[in-house]
């Protein structure tokens, strides 16, 4: 699901497995608790271990973008597998410049 770490003003969430409507709220809560505790300058979502994602993952990223922006930080999404980038491509998230 997700492993979260904090170092040098950066919260890094290493996501793995499948992200759907069942799993997304659990990941969301874990990340939000960490961000509210540390108020980082950067939230990094690392998708390298994600094997499946539907549009629930898009909602998850959009929500974290709003959340970290309110805390004064920035978001980046890294290591996006090709089949998952296809879902993101429908979302308009590319225009925010957060997908690396």
């Amino acid at each position: 699901m997700v492993d979260i770490s904090y170092q040098n003003d950066v919260v890094t969430a290493l996501l793995y497995g499948e992200i759907d409507h069942h799993i997304a709220p659990k990941i969301r809560n874990a990340i939000d608790i960490k961000c509210e505790t540390h108020r980082p300058k950067m939230l990094t979502l690392d998708f390298s271990g994600v094997t499946f994602m539907d549009s629930s993952g898009v909602g998850l990223v959009m929500g974290r973008y709003r959340c970290i922006s309110l805390l004064g930080g920035r978001l980046e999404v890294i290591h996006i597998p090709e089949n998952i980038r296809k879902v993101f491509s429908l979302s308009g998230l590319e225009s925010l410049g957060v997908l690396k």
Partner: protein, 146 residues
């Protein structure tokens, strides 16, 4: 066009069943030897349709979702996901990208994903009676360019 195989599943509208539904359809289509990309598209589209039933058709109580899948002799997969929930008031509006009636971080992309990842999407719905979403996708053969 002849049906060469078919299956039917009924399950409760619990979110834990989203992975069960998409994995079942993926297993059903495997004998046609789909590409990794085709399989990923099918799993994603099925997940969206089943999630719509759970979030929108049965928002306040659990109900039954019925999924049927058929394979034709022309290598077409036809999946129908039915519910007996509240129905969709305005199907055209529901299918607009980024439109959602949900307040819980839904991206409003469910139908956009289905339409983009499958060859054909049909929606029939009646208020208080339910909704049926039919997804179709042609599975390429090893003779096709992959």
């Amino acid at each position: 066009m002849n049906i060469i195989n078919q299956m039917k599943l009924s399950f409760v509208s619990k979110s834990v069943n989203e992975s069960f539904a998409r994995a079942s359809v993926a297993a059903f289509v495997l004998p046609l030897d789909p590409t990794v990309s085709e399989l990923s598209d099918i799993r994603t589209a099925v997940s969206e349709a089943v999630t719509n039933c759970i979030v929108h058709a049965y928002p306040d109580k659990k109900g039954i979702i019925t999924l049927t899948a058929k394979l034709t002799d022309q290598r077409k997969l036809i999946v129908t996901i039915r519910d007996k929930g509240k129905g969709i008031e305005d199907i055209d509006k529901a299918m607009e990208p980024l439109f959602t009636t949900s307040t819980d971080e839904r991206a409003g992309l469910g139908f956009a994903v289905m339409q983009s990842f499958m060859d054909k999407v049909r929606v029939r719905s009646e208020i208080s009676k339910g909704t049926a979403v039919t997804l179709e996708k042609y599975i390429s053969s090893s003779d096709d360019q992959r």
